[in-house]
Amino acid sequence: MTALLEVRNLSKQFTSAGGPFRKARAMHAVNDVSFDLPKGRVIGVVGESGCGKSTLARLILRLIEPSAGTLRFDGQDLRAKSPGEMRRLRARMQMVFQDPYSAIDPRYTIARAVLEPFKVQGQKPTQLPAEEVAALLSMVGLSPGLASSYPHQLSGGQKQRVGIARALALRPSLLVLDEPTASLDVSVQAQIISLLQQLRDELGLTFLFISHDLRLVRYFCDEILVMYLGRVVEALPDTDAAARHPYTATLRESTFAVDPKQRRVITPLEGEVPSPFDLPPGCAFADRCRHARAICRTDTPALVAHDGHAVACHNPL
């Protein structure tokens, strides 16, 4: 299996300049992330707010410039591309955004929004524009009659379908999904997830799926990366693999079962995600970890694979 996307030691550091009234601060939004995304696979990136999962998505697409690391897409070094080359390459790597409400220009009709990818790439649709619009809208389960509507006339779920149609217009091979259902109603979430699954099978797409919802990631993905404060703390080779990192275990425990007979007396994780600014040395999770030892507060654990299951912990479960 060849990797469509190869991410190596990808890091992003945001710095806020100091001034007379404040110290300069550095934040490692994404820290030394490496993984391979093989063609046709779905990798889920899961973590809580501030773990860097959305930044990771934008680094991979070079919507944010990485501070360090390499990115290879289909064998090509993305970070070596000139702006012009990068613009053309974007046709092959697309993104679906979290907030469908602001993902379409409010002044654009749906038809114009769906044809915009062709316009910016200087491509002609293979069929007549009106036919192309109808085909794309039907592909995402929308009535072609919506072509002349404006975004504000559509529901959230419909807008997200338009977002997907726009992303797929140029037939990309990689689709980065940044919490595509987080701002939708649960019943609509299921529609969008089913649509994405169907499109993946029909078009042979490769997905990187960003989510805070472990249940959804387990359902939708083949592999899971668990992130905590900018680092991948565990890479589960399949969704049923037993958690080896204490954080992954807690995340699983905190996810409620949808069954009143399975009321677990969970021991919730104490404390909350610490500030990502100026992190202390050692494992970022040490302060909340029940199994933390002295070494956890001094040395940052490396992500070490064992039988394809990687975990960054001095004391894995």
């Binding site: 529901s155 649960v186 609509v188 299921a190 807690t250 905190s254 409620f256 949808v258 995600v273």
Partner: protein, 318 residues
């Protein structure tokens, strides 16, 4: 002992009736979940109980709300003000906007006991420290001198809960209390609310869109759709054998609910808004089992074990 009983509640904003025929009841030590999607009227039901409708121009046009034997529908605002924050506590969705950013935590919580229990500020502070302690907030006396912006989201939500508890309420209304929080923090807060209900013998109305939260915390469930109750019953009855197609779909569309590899149930179409609530059964526009009668007649409740569903064909389908 029944703490709250809502019967055939109907709410109108001018000519629009976003809520009709809403009934539920709950007793001390019980948690009632009101579950539904956006626009289902679940938050409006809570606002009606709290007498907050006039603020946004709504009014109760029919039905009654009986709280501990007292009729609340039509209660004048001054009387309501005594109840709200006093015997009825409120926990809102967004802790960031429920706290005054310019005031320290201590005085904000103290004010509730001073206002509703007539305590002196010293007594109130002692009580605040005590409550913060029971909410497992470390170093409560120190926290009192902090400002809201110095605290994390989960900690702020605990402060909001402390304010709701400060006047020793009998009824607590929590509107999506964990939606804005991370998963691990959500688990902490839900567990905390659960303990409070048991320890203090509270009646808790929990408004949520999340069936898993309902499954984990509630004793009774009211499922709302397009301004109406479509099913109500005990939590075990609702989850074991949901009778209404909407309830079934709401459980089925959560990944992993029906089993790890089972397909998601998705409901076609979109949630109706208050401006286009369907006639007849509100769910008929999205229901796979729709029959002609569903488009014209509002279904009556059909009981089944410990639940009742408003569906013309309840019990006939699985």
């Amino acid at each position: 002992m029944t703490m709250l009983e809502v019967r055939d509640l109907e709410v109108a904003f001018g000519p629009i009736a976003p809520l009709s025929g809403v009934s539920f009841s709950l007793s001390k030590g019980e948690t009632l979940g009101i579950v539904g999607e956006s626009g289902s009227g679940k938050s409006l039901a809570a606002m009606s109980v709290l007498g907050l409708l006039p603020l946004s121009g709504g009014r109760i046009t029919a039905g009654s709300i009986i709280f501990d034997g007292q009729e609340l529908a039509g209660l004048p605002e001054p009387a309501y003000r005594k109840l709200r924050g006093g015997r009825i506590g409120l926990i809102t969705q967004n802790p960031m906007t429920s706290l005054d950013p310019l005031q320290k935590i201590g005085p904000q919580v103290d004010a509730v006991a001073v206002l509703h229990l007539g305590m002196t500020s010293a007594q109130a502070r002692a009580r605040t420290v005590d409550i913060l302690g029971t909410l497992r907030i470390p170093e409560p006396a120190l926290i009192c001198n902090r400002y809201p912006h110095q605290m994390s989201g989960g900690m702020k939500q605990r402060i909001v809960i402390a304010m709701a508890l400060a006047a020793d309420p009998d009824l607590l209304v929590a509107d999506e209390p964990t939606t804005a929080l991370d998963v691990t923090v959500q688990a902490q807060i839900i567990r905390l609310l659960d303990d409070l209900v048991k320890e203090r013998d509270l009646a808790l109305v929990l408004i949520t869109h999340d069936m898993s939260v309902v499954a984990q915390t509630c004793d009774k469930v009211v499922v709302m759709y397009a301004g109406r109750v479509v099913e109500r019953g005990t939590v075990t009855a609702i989850f074991d054998a949901p009778q209404h197609p909407y309830t079934q779909a709401l459980i089925g569309c959560i990944p992993g609910a029906a089993g790890a590899d089972e397909h998601l149930t998705s409901i076609p179409g979109t949630v109706p808004t208050v401006l286009n609530y369907p006639k007849g059964c509100p769910f008929h526009t999205r229901c796979a089992h729709m029959q002609p009668i569903c488009t014209t007649d509002v279904p009556a409740f059909v009981s089944h074990n410990d639940s009742a569903a408003a569906c013309h064909f309840a019990g006939d389908m699985k």
